[in-house]
Symmetry: C2
DNA sequence: TTCAAACCTTCCAGTAACTGGAGATTTGGC
DNA sequence: GCCAAATCTCCAGTTACTGGAAGGTTTGAA
């Protein structure tokens, strides 16, 4: 498929997809006319990157994640080690998101839509959680 | 406290803290000698931003989140509406992270540290999850 | 008091990861 | 063949930092 379709299916703008090719994240075939040609596998990779980027992983980290994703068959001890580190990282992110969620949820629950002084819960939450 | 201490306590480099002042995210007092002076409240804001940024929220979104965090007492209907939208966004991010986590967990679980052909589970997962 | 180390200041340049736009080419419908 | 839409390349601009120069301030030892 062409880049437009790949963009649609991956949720990434065509511009970004070309950029990802520039930096070597996804390497599509080229048709005779010079147009990029994406396989469904390419689209999966793109979607994978889209997800990881939107969750705060750097492009470098995405590259690592992709290499895990790609090279799952060879040298898997090394792959497994990196995967485990990434798993821990993701768990940490999930915990932090949950913390952030709590802050907002308390905010929504405690400020009743009228004028109120302030919510000590929020202060407390902002002081706690996620020091490391 | 001075910027160095604020940096240490917030988990942000001093450079970044100065940048956040430039763009108006955190406005510390100034001492007579021109040094920035941070309150514990300032540090809470900084930590809040640090968390949100590391979780994939843009600076603009952080600004919104901070305004929720700040203005919890005035015009709270509007605040509440934005807070709810952000809550939904965060829930979505949590779900996506959980998806990513599954991909890696399957990878770790299924590639046993020796040479194996490939894991159809991964293919399947990459095809599913997080289309919206 | 003087000096160095460690802090702080501003400013400017560089990097990462896009993002928008110009200008040329290709495709597909009329 | 014509034209709009999609694609191409290339280059410039934006966002969110990040590093470094050049200099002022504070602290503590000699």
């Amino acid at each position: 498929m062409n880049i437009g379709t790949a963009a649609e299916k991956s949720g990434l703008p065509a511009k970004t997809i070309r950029y990802y090719e520039d930096i070597g994240l996804v390497r599509p075939d080229r048709a005779g006319n010079g147009y990029r040609h994406y396989s469904t596998g390419d689209v999966h990779r793109l979607r994978f990157v889209q997800r990881a980027r939107s969750l705060g992983f750097s492009v470098g980290e995405c590259r690592q994640l992709l290499s895990l994703y790609d090279d799952r068959a060879r040298e898997s001890m090394e792959v497994k080690t990196i995967a485990k580190a990434k798993l821990a990282e993701i768990d940490c992110k999930i915990a932090e998101l949950a913390g952030l969620r709590d802050v907002l949820a308390h905010l929504v629950a405690n400020c009743h839509g009228d004028h109120r002084p302030d919510c000590p819960i929020i202060d407390e939450l902002s002081g706690e959680a996620a020091t490391g």
